[in-house]
């Protein structure tokens, strides 16, 4: 039961942070960041199962692997950006956190550039050449 471990860890960390915060706010932040990173890394391995299912689905249906790659990249970017933004937000730097999220959004949109270019080329190719 991993969820019990994780919730236990989170509760202990929360109590410790509450205790420490009065004396040393710096260490409270470090503790929070470490707990967050630990849980993230602990669970990132579990996503493996979901990704395997997705890959299996993609292989069986015969859709191009480039689609799956794009989708997985989007998920990864979203998770990492969200994670980093939350840690930064915990430290009280709201503006930097929003910049991190902005970077994540931009990078997700960048994923779309090759797809958009193919579609635009096709639409232009559909138009009669002579106008």
């Amino acid at each position: 039961m991993e969820i019990i471990q994780i919730v236990g860890l989170a509760l202990i960390a929360t109590v410790l942070i509450l205790v420490v915060r009065e004396q040393k706010p710096m260490f409270a932040f470090l503790l929070a960041a470490f707990t967050g990173i630990f849980i993230f890394l602990y669970l990132i391995g579990k996503i493996d199962i979901v990704i395997t299912v997705l890959e299996d689905l993609a292989n069986r249906s015969g859709i191009p692997s480039i689609y799956l790659k794009t989708i997985l990249k989007i998920i990864g970017i979203a998770y990492i950006a969200e994670f980093g933004a939350q840690i930064v937000r915990d430290a009280g730097q709201e503006s930097i956190a929003s910049k991190v999220e902005f970077a994540g959004k931009v990078l997700i949109l960048v994923m779309a550039v090759p797809i958009i270019s193919v579609i635009v080329e096709t639409v232009i190719g559909l138009l009669p050449a002579g106008g």
Binding site: S61, I74, I75, A78, G104, K105, P114, V118, I119
Partner: protein
């Protein structure tokens, strides 16, 4: 037809299921709009795929090509400060280019000036002067020096049959002998001096290739002295020639 339709539908359904999974996996709502856009494009591409395939053949390979290109492009556009070595290399290239431009300019100017001076002082017509510059390294700097000067005189009129007198009119002070038999080589390449007598027999070099023949020794010496006076050109690197009598004027 039915199998093709089935394949197409299966593709669409698979992509939509992928999209649903992805929406589940997305961590927060903020990213969802952006991710939805990309997924929407993918679904559009899947739905359009029969049209695309009809119009432009294999589009999936082109798509993966462009993705790969994009990834490579975004991988190399890391922000990078130029190192000192890069800057120095750039500077070296720039100065090399500047040197060669300056050398080209020098060459042109020299050619023009030499042609003017030779035609003025010898009263012979000069068709062309070619100056070859070579580089010598002096420490870190490279300086050009004259390695070869080729003076092409205009075709001698005397070698045309029936015009022997005309040549003496044009170049009265130089052409003392009859020009035609005196195809004397004064071609002096760097180092090797050929006398006039051997020049005829051993002139199997580039000079004697039909198109060119040597000018009279007097004219050649005069040209050399002009160049030596004006520019300090070593007479040994001066080659004076003229178009051969037979195939000039084409």
């Amino acid at each position: 037809m039915v199998t093709w339709l089935g394949d197409w539908l299966r593709d669409i359904i698979a992509v939509i299921m992928l999209a649903v999974f992805m929406e589940l996996l997305l961590p927060n709502k903020a990213m969802q709009r952006y991710a939805r856009l990309v997924i929407g494009l993918l679904i559009l591409l899947t739905i359009l795929s029969p049209v695309l395939r009809l119009l432009q053949g294999d589009f999936s390979s082109r798509l993966s090509d462009s993705v790969r290109q994009w990834e490579m492009g975004s991988g190399t556009q890391d922000i990078k400060m130029p190192t000192l070595q890069d800057i120095q290399k750039d500077a070296e290239n720039l100065s090399k280019r500047r040197d060669s431009q300056a050398a080209a300019l020098t060459q042109q100017t020299l050619e023009k000036a030499m042609a003017n001076a030779v035609s003025e002082r010898t009263k012979a017509k000069v068709e062309q002067v070619d100056v070859e510059l070579k580089w010598v390294a002096e420490g870190s700097r490279r300086t050009p020096y004259l390695s070869k000067v080729t003076v092409t005189m205009a075709a001698v009129e005397a070698s045309q049959p029936g015009k022997g007198d005309a040549a003496q009119d044009t170049k009265p002070d130089v052409q003392v002998d009859e020009v035609k038999p005196v195809d004397v080589s004064i071609k002096v390449d760097t180092g090797s001096v050929e006398s006039g007598a051997t020049g005829k027999s051993s002139a199997g070099d580039e000079l004697a290739e039909d198109a060119w023949m040597k000018v009279s020794p007097a004219l050649g010496d005069k040209v050399r002295s002009v160049l030596a006076d004006g520019w300090g050109v070593n007479p040994e690197i001066v080659l004076v020639r003229q178009p051969a009598a037979n195939d000039r004027r084409h």
